[in-house]
């Protein structure tokens, strides 16, 4: 490939159009600047996502018969959020909510785009937490309850700490996806990296800014993915060596 591609008749034009050194160096700093907004959206959405996901997962795993209606509501919520593409939620919430006539600063697409991310990813990650909660053996609950701890105390001290430890790797996987999906918010307005790349591309009629943006994403997502794999492998080693007694 490395030998064949440069011999293609249109290669020089493609090269100029996607891999122009000049355009790369020109766009890179601007894109990095814009990427700061992606990082910001990621940084403020993540804690909200984790909190919402934990809440949903706990509510869904609760055994209190009185909470049955809440459980049904949560299941419905999770199904609906996960059943529609993230980008559609960003459009619906990002254009829809400010559209009802909210005043500044509550009409910001940045705000509602972030809210859309929180609501959708909260549902995805709730399922990750729920799988973790379900994976803690029933006998742990029995041991805790037998000591007189309440349901809530059992969840807090016994079940959740074990569940969270187990789901760190899949959780990281979803956070890598989130890191990329943050760029979708650009579609409703905020000038983050993807949009900046679009602006640069239009200005110079050259696609290199997109390639530059891809490189910037990879700088974050590859280390994240590697770390996740490492954690997964470690978790597998740990559980497979303790399972067999």
């Amino acid at each position: 490939m490395i030998i064949a591609i440069p011999r293609l008749p249109r290669w020089p034009r493609v090269k100029e159009s996607f891999f122009s050194k000049e355009r790369l160096f020109d766009s890179f700093p601007r894109l990095l600047d814009a990427f700061v907004l992606d990082i910001k959206i990621f940084a403020w959405s993540t804690p909200a996502i984790i909190a919402l996901a934990l809440l949903l997962a706990i509510a869904r795993s609760s055994r209190n018969p009185a909470l049955f209606p809440i459980r049904i509501f949560v299941i419905g919520y999770i199904d609906i959020m996960r059943g529609v593409p993230v980008i559609l939620w960003i459009y619906l919430i990002g254009f829809g909510v400010p559209g009802v006539g909210l005043e500044r600063p509550f009409n910001s697409p940045l705000l509602w785009g972030s809210v859309a991310l929180v609501l959708t990813y909260g549902a995805y990650i709730a399922e990750v937490f729920r799988a973790g909660i379900d994976s803690v053996h029933e006998s742990q609950r029995a041991a805790s309850r037998s000591l007189g701890l309440s349901n809530t105390q059992t969840m807090r001290f016994v079940i959740l700490p074990q569940a969270i430890r187990r789901v760190v790797p899949p959780l990281m996987n979803d956070l890598v996806s989130l890191q990329k999906d943050v760029a979708l918010v650009s579609l409703i307005g905020p000038i983050e990296i993807l949009r900046q790349a679009g602006i640069d591309k239009a200005k110079f009629a050259n696609f290199t800014p997109y390639v530059a943006a891809a490189i910037i994403f990879l700088m974050i997502t590859i280390p994240l993915t590697r770390t996740t794999d490492y954690l997964l492998a470690r978790e597998r080693r740990r559980t497979s060596s303790t399972r067999v007694r």
Binding site: S144, R145, S146
Partner: protein
């Protein structure tokens, strides 16, 4: 009467595991339950600790009806300790924290006091050097001893032991049984489900043979093991080669 069960019934689906079981245990008594696998020993102990709700009947602890529907089970469970076949220590907590969790969260003790209790009990059972270990760093025998200490730390009035040596390698059984012997010396009321007939004979004030969801025969160990009156008891003892 420390503990009394009247006509206790418990079914799983259509399978009646406890079918009108009656039992009286006086304070300080050690009662063992024997019977084939599936005869309901575990279910009986779990019902007493309210881990399983009973379908019908009454359970009295010191005369209080603890089986009433709608009663908060937590204050009752504090008074009854249970040790499980599979230890069930909390794997993410040190030995000390396993013991102090309920002391602080349920009994509301200060950390200092809880740690003191954990330390003195661990010392009493020769586990003091394991106080900072995690369960997976301990042998099965040590884990089970810690589980006993964890239950004991709550100062329960009754201890329920459910086949606590069944998951152990044979060479580790002795150290756990020693702990039970020591417990008997301290005068606590104990209900013991076990496969260790020799041990049941040695430690019990009374042995109950469970069959068909009830106590088919009970008596002093000497009498029940050497001269059982019920044919089912005889068959069972023959089957376990006793």
């Amino acid at each position: 009467m420390k503990l009394e069960l009247r006509d206790v019934r418990k079914s799983f689906g259509s399978r009646a595991v406890l079918a009108g079981l009656d039992l009286k245990v006086s304070a300080g008594e050690v009662v063992s339950f024997i019977g084939s696998s599936g005869s309901g020993k575990t279910t009986l102990l779990r019902c007493i600790n309210l881990l399983e709700p009973i379908d019908d009947g009454t359970i009295l602890l010191d005369g209080d009806e603890i089986s009433k529907i709608g009663l908060d089970p937590n204050p009752i469970r504090r008074r009854i300790g249970i040790v499980f076949q599979s230890f069930n220590l909390f794997p993410h907590m040190s030995v000390q924290r396993n013991i102090t969790l309920a002391l602080t969260q349920v009994l509301g003790k200060q950390d200092d006091e809880a740690n003191e209790i954990a330390k003195s009990l661990l010392t009493r059972f020769a586990l003091a050097d394991k106080i900072d270990s995690y369960p997976d760093q301990l042998s099965g025998g040590q884990q089970q001893r810690v589980a006993i200490v964890r239950a004991l730390a709550m100062s329960p009035e009754v201890m329920l032991l459910d086949e606590i040596t069944s998951a152990l390698d044979p060479e580790l059984v002795g150290e756990v049984l020693d702990v039970v012997r020591e417990l008997k010396g301290s005068g606590i009321t104990m209900l013991i489900a076990t496969h260790e007939m020799k041990f049941a004979q040695e430690i019990s004030d009374r042995v109950c043979f469970l069959d068909g969801g009830r106590i088919a025969e009970q008596g002093q160990p000497q009498q029940l093991f050497t001269n059982p009156s019920d044919e089912r008891t005889r068959q069972f003892l023959r089957r376990v080669n006793f």
